[in-house]
Amino acid sequence: MIVTLHLVALAFYGLATAFVLAPFMGGRAAPRVLTIALPCAGAAFHVVAISQLTPVGLGPALSMLAFCLVLLQLASERLLRGSAVSFFAAPLATGLVGLALLSGLAPGAEAAARNVWFVLHVALSALGLALMALAFIAAALYLLQFRELKARRFGQVFQLFPPLERLDRLNRFALVLGFPALTLGVVLALGYGAQFSGGLHAAKAQLVWGIFTWVVLGWAVWVRVVRHWAGRRAALASIAGFGAVLLVYVALKLTQPGAERFL
């Protein structure tokens, strides 16, 4: 059932992706109602699937991350009055659901999974990462639009992407919310480990790389909030932050093959 629900969600997300990317492949822009309705329908099936899922392991984590991303995508669409975030978020969410299915999804009722601390840890971590992904998407859109505006090119990017100022605001919003969510998720994991698992069960590499990620993301937030960076510099900083997350993921995969506790 969980897999079926994920497959249905995947189909809706895939369809939404095809519609939002159509203008870049020479097709006509889909009606806005479709680019909103399809992810909404997918999210409806997805939430039912997640409610039956044990939030342990890579597959469920990716599924939750994808779900958070879709919700943020829909919220951003409203904020930006356009479908620009979907250009990145829709394929990313589709890919994440696909990866979740490939990683394996199974129902379960482990005691750990039903613990509020643990559920909160996973939910906040997924939300934090999704917000970081959104910040990355806004930053990437910003840099693309910035490049087009500087180069005086007035093609699809100029037409379809939102104004720089709005993208900058979205980037700031996502970073400022995402970092505390992610931090709280990590703190909850530490608390859960100390309270229910008799200490933290993490490899040294995970700790080192995790702290490195946290520092880079923290720096991206610090330069925005404290140093008042904005525009292109801030966009590059948040891309560096999200890049650090990806780097750590790859590094852990290489140094600890088979590790399931990346998040």
Binding site: F154, P163, E165, A230, G231, R232
Partner: protein, 420 residues
Amino acid sequence: MGIKVVGVNHRTAPLDVRERFAHGAHEVPGALARVMAAGASGGVLLSTCNRTEFYLVADDEPALEAVWSLLGERLSASPAGGAREYGYIARDRDAVRHLYRVSSGLDSMILGESQIQGQVREAWEASRAQAGPVLHRLFQTALHVGSRVRTETGLGMGTASAASAGVAVAGKIFGDLAGRSALILGAGDMAELAATCLSDQGVQITLVANRTQERARAIAERLGGKAVSLEEAWPHFATTDIALCSTAAPHAVVTWERVGAVLGARRGRPLCILDLAVPRDVDPAIAQIENVFLYDVDDLQTVAAQATARRRDEIPAAERIVEEETDVFWAWYGGLGVVPTIKDLRQRMDDLRAVELERALRQLGHLSPDDRACVEQFSQALLNKFLHQPTVALKAAAEEGRGYGLLEALRRLFGMEPPA
């Protein structure tokens, strides 16, 4: 003599060449005088940011050569063929059609834009002393054609001017423009139009800077800003969000030396500079500063051109009006040749009559002087009778604006040369 148009436009010459060919109002009489000295009997110079065109009543050479030479002198590095490498010539009916298409916005970079109508009027007025009757009529009717196209078709619908494109571009940088600040350099019509477009979007026009203060003051008062001199405007580049430049200066006024240091103090805040002037007001090097977004007329017209897509459906209807009006003008123009053609025809017929009369009278040597006078009178009366109806019909056709076709037929039938 015929109607000619010779010039360059946005399709045939890039902006930096058009900048060199652009003539200020004060340069028009001198340029026309030079072309007319080369044999043109009438001339109007239409010079906008998108085109520099000489409308002439002239023979092909050497008036056209004078135009190419005049334009060629403005090129710093002249190509092998000189200015004509960038230009075109249209003659007679094609020249009339060309002007009608120009005035109705069919030939504009921004399809259907209305500003050209005013520019055609200004060109006509600036060249009034040298235009001559044919070009007077041509420009008068061109304005009529422009009005007809705009009222009878949808060619002018929507906003697709460079000014509105400037607003769209600024919107892509700042999002909501309400509450943003703008300073205006220049106080011409274009500056006023663009400033009004910005003001309509809620942009606060803080300064209007111009060489002469009176005009700047009028615009500043209307839009709620303050009139200053150009020198007083440079420090404000540190704080403004949008700078709109549209002066009539023959060279860049916003230079690195004047605003480079000031722009450094913006601390990364974006500045949108809309340079609507030709020649350009802003040194292109300014765009190298990271958060400065500089757009010139060509850029804005590219943006505006995208908004014209839906106007394209109206092209056939507009072209029909242009063709209809070209027929009317050409008929009128043909009618101008009626009087000399009739005189020419009568002279030819009279010469023939005289030759044939002389031959006949040689054979009728026995006739008395009275009889000879009677025969001569008869030949004259017969000629008059033969020519009466064609003369009346030609004059009537000319009055109705249909003379050209009949004249063409007459010239072909009687092997007559067209009138000079």
